[in-house]
Symmetry: C2
Subunit: 141 residues, 2 copies
């Protein structure tokens, strides 16, 4: 059994990031969520400043869900939250990477990563992962 390392960041952390980050013209910061253990890219999400503040303070990923126009915790319905281990900033302050510990799976379709379809050179999109949970059972309502 491995111990979960959850990084909760001080208030100074948000101040430090504010100095270098340049949110896009919709006030959002594209953030690559990467599994700390396997290094697989899990998903790409968008954080506004409130979501970033909440993510840093709690050590779990919060995002701005554009389709619903609201702040939410990643995994709030499913319980499949993401525990932040590292926050890494790009050279231009236009994107972040969060290295996380993923509970169960990141994708609402039942796969560990949202990137479960691989393009082959002949032009076929192939599912290369197996499902790790049943979306119908998890998202009942």
């Amino acid at each position: 059994m491995t111990r979960t390392i959850r990084s909760r960041f001080s208030k100074r952390s948000l101040q430090a990031l504010r100095k270098v980050l340049r949110f896009n013209d919709q006030g959002l910061m594209p953030t690559v969520i990467q599994d700390a253990k396997t290094k697989r890219v899990l998903t790409l999400c968008y954080l506004n400043e409130a979501a970033l503040a909440k993510s840093l303070a709690t050590g779990t990923v919060y995002l701005f869900r554009r389709s619903q126009n609201r702040l939410m915790q990643k995994g709030e319905t499913s319980g499949h939250i993401q525990i932040i281990q590292q926050v890494v900033v790009d050279c231009e302050g236009k994107a972040l990477v969060f290295l996380v510990q993923q509970r169960v799976a990141a994708c609402h379709a039942g796969y560990f990563s949202c990137y479960f379809r691989k393009l082959d050179t002949g032009g076929m999109l192939k599912i290369t992962d197996r499902k790790v949970f049943d979306p119908k059972a998890v998202y009942k309502t």
Copy 2:
């Protein structure tokens, strides 16, 4: 010495992607570039449809440089091109991951990855990589 696997994709590949991709309202597709060997995230770039077509056909990354409003090959000045090994599509068709072989380094600041600054929990941004090339020597003009 390891052999470079460069994947050149057929015209059918672009057609297959067109069916599932939803470019954003600026006509761009956010694409996470990940090093195939180390699995490090190298950069996040934005491809319009022409850049995607050219990337697939050549097996090297082309992008739409928003600040210059033009199509360019990643690494065209430095020679630090990215050779595509895998193309992976997210569940909603809103983002891609390219697994690549990186020549020299991805970042214009001289680091292997654009994500060379790590936030510590006390609020300090620390450079955690070493430079692998001298930007002044590479970008002379």
